[in-house]
């Protein structure tokens, strides 16, 4: 008996017993939809964390110095000579000050950086220009403001060219960074960037303790950390006097944890799939016993064991595939709803999880359908024909 014929028979059997087929499929529907929904939402969560991370600056290496060493010039030279895996370096010192524009005053972080600060921290300008080498070299009192400052201090006014007062000194706004976090307080949008060469005149400290290095890629980040460690070691009295870390490491760990979490949650949801599979076996056993006479008739007119097995296997596979398709539809719906509620975004299940869940449900149906199918095929034709 060919596949096409068995498939049509299976569809007929499903349609002839609609309620029973639906109840059989229910386990698979719940299983597939919950696996898809939960895994998709976790994947959406992971994606959202990744997006946040990328906004903050991907492949960013932070150097922290606990010893008074002037690294700026050496570090600049080192990074310039390793341009195959480093995009740039910038001082990244910050202090909290009151910033005033006309009558408005705000507490914010004042960062001391150079012309590579924007590159290193993944900032783009929405207006004006970036810090130039001349600004740095000539200690020009210019500032670039973050989205929070622009929004709260300037409103609809164009900030470029306006004067800001920081610790009694006047700075001209030359640019505005595009908002990354909707201009929220305490976020990366809550900042003012000034040339690092002005650190002494503002803070009274001369040395820079924090630097940010931008690596070219995730792979280059690892190499850059190794090379930088090697380069910095001899400059400090003790190795623990400096620290180098990258969010990439944290991100990798986070990705691993998320994957593990997704597997565990998917596995728990998969248990309902297993229960659905057992439901299919149960119904197929009932079906075999109800259709014993039919099996006998088929055997009498020439069906072999293989024909009977394939017929019942295709039938159980078809039932679970139908359940899988309905489950996928509910999975899409569930992902969209749960994503909207928890992540405030539209979560669409990936093709991998959808096709995986579908084929897994078909395989499950066939696996649990095998025992009843095999049982049917072992019936003696003469005995089966006697059944009522």
């Amino acid at each position: 008996m060919n596949f096409h014929q068995s498939f049509l028979m299976a569809i007929k059997s499903v349609l002839n017993n609609k309620m029973r087929s639906f109840l059989t499929m229910l386990g698979i529907i719940i299983g597939v939809s919950s696996v898809i929904t939960l895994v998709s939402v976790i994947q959406g969560m992971q994606k959202s964390v990744m997006n946040q991370f990328e906004k903050m600056g991907k492949n960013k290496i932070v150097i922290n110095c606990n010893e008074s060493v002037d690294l700026t010039s050496d570090l600049y030279t080192f990074c310039a000579s390793h341009s195959e895996y480093i995009d740039g370096v910038s001082p990244d010192q910050s202090m909290q000050y009151k910033v005033r524009y006309k009558t408005k005053t705000l507490d914010t972080n004042v960062f001391f950086g150079n012309d590579k600060y924007a590159v290193c921290n993944n900032f783009t300008l929405s207006n004006g220009r970036k810090l130039s080498y001349t600004d740095i070299k000539n200690r020009v009192k210019v500032a670039i403001i973050g989205e929070r400052i622009r929004k709260e201090m300037f409103g609809f006014e164009n900030p470029v060219g306006k004067k800001l007062a920081i610790k009694g000194q006047t700075f001209t706004v030359i640019g505005v960074f595009e908002g990354k976090f909707d201009g929220v307080q305490y976020s990366q949008d809550d900042m003012v960037l000034v040339p690092y060469t002005l650190i002494g005149s503002i803070t009274g400290f001369k040395n820079i303790n924090i630097y940010t290095v931008k690596a070219k890629s995730s792979k280059a980040t690892k190499t850059a950390i190794d090379k930088l460690t090697e380069f910095l070691k001899p400059k400090f009295r003790r190795p623990e006097n400096f620290g180098i870390y990258s969010d990439n490491q944290w991100m990798e760990e986070n990705n691993k944890s998320m994957k593990m979490f997704s597997l565990v949650v998917g596995g728990i949801a998969g248990i309902s799939l297993l229960v659905g599979g057992i439901g299919i076996m149960n119904i197929m056993l009932v079906s075999v016993s109800e259709r014993t006479r039919e099996i006998g008739i088929r055997m009498a007119i020439g069906a072999g064991r293989r024909d009977i097995i394939s017929q019942f296997l295709i039938e159980s596979g078809t039932i679970s595939a139908c359940g899988g398709v309905v489950g996928i539809a509910f999975g899409f719906l569930g992902s969209a709803l749960l994503g909207a509620v928890t992540l405030k975004t539209l979560v669409i299940p990936s093709m991998t999880i959808v096709t995986g869940a579908f084929w897994f449900s078909v395989a499950l149906g066939m696996f649990f359908g095998f025992y009843p199918a095999n049982k049917a095929s072992k019936l003696q034709p003469v005995e089966a024909l006697r059944a009522q």
């Binding site: 008996m1 008739i297 055997m299 007119i301 020439g302 072999g304 003469v382 024909l385």
Partner: protein, 239 residues
């Protein structure tokens, strides 16, 4: 060579237990191609057991069965399935049609198991149904047909693969006399066309349609001979 050669077969159920039943006892029988044999016996005489063995649906406990010279006892299950499919057409008292399938689909079934491609098997099934006068009922399910029509579908299914043997087990048992006569005429016509017919019946009148009557009693063949008198059906069917 005999088409069917049965040598001293016995069928014993629950052998060696207190509930042992000897359904067939040392039966020997030879049937040639083209014969019309009626196996006549009362209920419980062993005639259905004999039919099951001759139809390769069951195997004897003892004895040998040769079909066209080949030992059936030694055949694997898959070979027996092929024999049932290609050499034997069954007609049962209870019609044994699959209720979920239409008449055409029921007739197609043995052809599907033969692996015949869809267009060809549809044609063969169609022709078989036309030959039993059911051209207008092809897409009807068994429940939408009368008993006589269902039995005609069963005949169409049995002849669709053009088997050399037709085994008919009380084919008119569930039919009124008019429909029963029609079925018997069809069997007679099939025999006229060269098909070997084995008719299992308890009805002496029906058995008279055959060319040879075997009487079975208590699992043994009591007599083997020609019909006693000419049947009205025979006269009508065999011009």
């Amino acid at each position: 060579m005999d088409l069917i050669d049965v040598r001293q077969i016995s069928k014993i159920y629950h052998e060696g237990t207190p509930s042992e039943v000897k359904a067939l006892d040392n039966v020997s029988l030879q049937i040639k191609e083209g014969e019309f044999v009626a196996i006549l016996g009362q209920s419980g005489s062993g005639k259905s057991t004999l039919m099951n063995i001759l139809g390769c649906l069951d195997i004897p406990t003892y004895g040998e069965y040769y079909l066209r010279g080949k030992a059936v006892n030694d055949m694997r299950l898959s070979v027996l399935s092929n024999i049932r499919n290609q050499m034997i057409g069954f007609i049962f008292q209870g019609f044994n049609l699959i209720p979920a399938l239409t008449a055409l689909e029921n007739v197609e079934l043995p052809l599907i198991y033969q692996g015949i491609k869809p267009s060809e098997r549809k044609k063969l099934a169609h022709d078989a149904l036309v030959s039993v006068g059911l051209e207008g009922r092809m897409n009807h399910r068994p429940t939408e047909m009368s008993g006589g029509q269902q039995q005609r579908v069963a005949i169409a299914r049995a002849v669709s693969t053009k088997p050399p043997i037709i085994l008919a087990d009380e084919p008119t048992g569930n039919l009124d006399s008019k429909a029963g006569n029609e079925i018997m005429k069809m069997l007679i016509d099939l025999n006229g066309a060269g098909t070997t017919i084995l008719l299992i019946t308890h009805d002496n009148h029906l058995a008279q349609c055959a060319k040879r009557i075997l009487t079975i009693q208590d699992g043994k063949i009591k007599s083997d001979g020609l019909p006693e008198k000419s049947s009205g059906l025979l006269e009508g069917g065999r011009a």
